[in-house]
């Protein structure tokens, strides 16, 4: 039953461009990018117990690197993409060294501080980032000579990357290392006494999470062909976090549901309601009140409860 539902869903997703208009195809691409971002953040927040409020840093770094490398230095897309992702991953490793000196609220504050510094740099270092004007004229890559200019082609590309990202992160979470990570989240002291190295486990996860956030940044800049300092803003980090928590942190499906919800509210409902932030707030409030652990665990609990009462 579950498998049939998944196959139908996959078929629907793949066939989306055949029945949806260009606006909706583009919307779907944006949702996919938000999903990759939320999935990567969930590794930290949900599985690692490290609540970060600066995750947009990595999407921003990757996006800016691609923008600068391709537009200013005329470097090809393939090399730019590899260098940007590598650069983002190295940056995550460096920021991890700083942020992981602390845990809990202090960790959150450090990630926030780092992202604010980057945001400030993007605004002020105009010679590199073009400041408030942002960088325009970015083109989409042509992997294997296939143009991604049409909405449908880009959507399929994003869907492929998102599927890869989901698979890779699912493997990571279900692996032996994933168990080490969850153990460190729940009982760091005991894990250390058992021979696990909590700091190293957190750091590796921090880097891996940064890597996938970088991938989402890459997609983002290809999609919008433009990059502006707001991409690095705390609002973006917070929206990702909101998606993870709303959907259910520490679950595989939670960030998908949550990020879909948040980005639909942001990109779709905002067309009808000017104060879409208020709507987002109301929805979030409802989730917290009705399903404090998030939509996915909440719905699962609901089903298991009705299942039990039937017996």
């Amino acid at each position: 039953m579950k498998w049939i539902a998944l196959v139908v869903l996959a078929a629907l997703l793949a066939a989306l461009p055949s029945f949806a208009g260009e606006f909706y195809i583009n919307l779907a691409s944006q949702v996919l990018i938000a999903i990759i971002f939320a999935l990567s953040l969930n590794l930290l927040v949900g599985y690692g117990g490290m609540t970060s409020l600066g995750h947009a840093s990595y999407t921003g770094i990757a996006a800016y690197m691609v923008a600068i490398l391709t537009t200013r230095y005329g470097i090809g897309h393939g090399i730019s993409a590899v260098v940007s992702i590598a650069g983002t991953t190295v940056a995550a490793a460096g920021f991890g060294l700083i942020a992981l000196r602390a845990t809990g609220l202090s960790f959150l504050m450090i990630t926030l501080a780092i992202s604010q510094v980057l945001w400030g740099l993007a605004y002020r270092m105009a010679s590199v980032t073009n400041g408030d004007n942002g960088i325009t004229g970015i083109t989409r890559p042509m992997p294997f000579g296939i143009s991604l200019e049409s909405a449908a082609a880009f959507y399929w590309f994003a869907l492929l990357v998102a599927a890869l990202a989901f698979a890779a992160m699912t493997i990571f979470v279900l692996s032996a290392f994933g168990s080490s990570l969850k153990g460190v989240r729940d009982q760091p002291r005991r894990m250390a006494a058992l021979g696990f190295h909590p700091w190293m486990i957190r750091w590796i996860t921090f880097i891996y999470s940064g890597f996938w956030a970088g991938v989402s940044g890459l997609l983002y800049v290809y999609y919008s062909k433009y990059i502006h300092p707001t991409s690095l803003s705390t609002t973006n980090s917070a929206e990702g976090l909101l998606g993870v928590i709303a959907g259910g942190s520490g679950t595989l499906g939670g960030p998908i549901v949550g990020a879909t919800l948040v980005s639909l509210l942001k990109n779709y409902a905002s067309g009808y309601i000017e104060r879409w932030n208020m709507l987002l707030g109301a929805v979030f409030l409802a989730i917290v009140l009705l399903m404090p652990t998030g939509i996915v665990p909440g719905v699962r609990k609901l089903f298991s409860r009705t299942g039990k009462s039937r017996k």
Binding site: I171, F172, L174, S175, A176, F177, G178, S179, S180, G183, D186, Q187, R189, R190, M191, A192, A193, L194, G195, F196, H197, P198, I204, Y208
Partner: protein, 250 residues
């Protein structure tokens, strides 16, 4: 090949203070390989603080700790675990959402390279699961192996604490009040479980239940205000005037 070190643990002039409060004062102790040592003392005597310094949760202000001849004074807790040190906690510290089998598996993984494998699913490690169930069987918990820890009784949790530590086949095992809060029948079960620990493992136990603990101990150390008051063979320590004064009462 070198002869194995005679001492499992050598503590020399260990001191720990929190600000002006000295909780460990010039403690020197030696534990032979395979020894069974009981540490007693009134509340606040610094027993658990001593354990925390042996495991590396706390770093001493001064002094030295050697584990099987190796200076571990500045090592991280996880590095000490790899030197053959294992412990249980006075306040039960388990993974409550996970099954008993998973808890013990974590104990096994801690010393194996599998803990770093980010690709292979944990469920593929059949050998770990099998070994985990074998250890749970030793602890008499095999029927509960697929239950989450949150569902089992307090006395059973105490045994999971032990099973996790035993899974690591430690050369030195620290037991922090393994009998705390247990009923008399549960005490008997845990006691025989502790008695069954192989002789390759040296055991240091903090325990207030003298009736049970003394049976398991060969040597006893009495701590008070962070100092070693009496130290030696069980019967000699128990007969000592100072033990009666400080701990047992008259």
């Amino acid at each position: 090949m070198m002869a194995p070190p005679a001492y499992a643990l050598e503590i020399t002039s260990l001191c720990k203070s929190f600000g002006g409060l000295s909780v460990t004062q010039d403690v020197s102790l030696t534990i032979r390989a395979g020894e069974r040592r009981l540490i007693i003392g009134p509340n606040g005597a610094g027993k658990t603080t001593l354990f925390n310094q042996i495991t590396g949760d706390l770093l001493p202000t001064s002094g030295q700790i050697k584990l099987f001849g190796k200076d571990i004074t500045r090592l991280r807790p996880d590095q000490r675990a790899h030197c053959g040190l294992s412990r249980t906690y006075q306040i039960i510290t388990l993974f409550t959402q996970d099954t008993l089998e998973h808890n013990v598996t974590l104990g096994l993984m801690g010393l194996r390279s599998a803990r770093w494998n980010p690709v292979r699913p944990l469920s593929f490690y059949g050998d770990l699961a099998k070994e985990s169930r074998r250890i749970l069987e030793l602890a008499g918990l095999e029927k509960l192996s697929s239950h989450p820890v949150s569902e089992i009784a307090y006395g059973e949790k105490r045994r999971v604490e032990l099973a996790m530590a035993l899974a690591q086949k430690p050369r030195l095992l620290l037991l922090d009040e393994p009998l705390a809060g247990l009923s008399s029948s549960e005490r008997t079960t845990v006691k025989s479980l502790i008695a069954s620990i192989p002789r390759e493992t040296a055991v240091i136990m903090i325990e207030h239940d003298m009736d049970t603990a003394l049976d398991l101990a060969e040597t006893v150390t009495l701590l008070n205000y962070g100092r070693v008051i009496v130290d030696g063979k069980r019967d000699a320590v128990i007969a000592d005037e100072k033990t009666r004064e400080v701990y047992l009462g008259n």
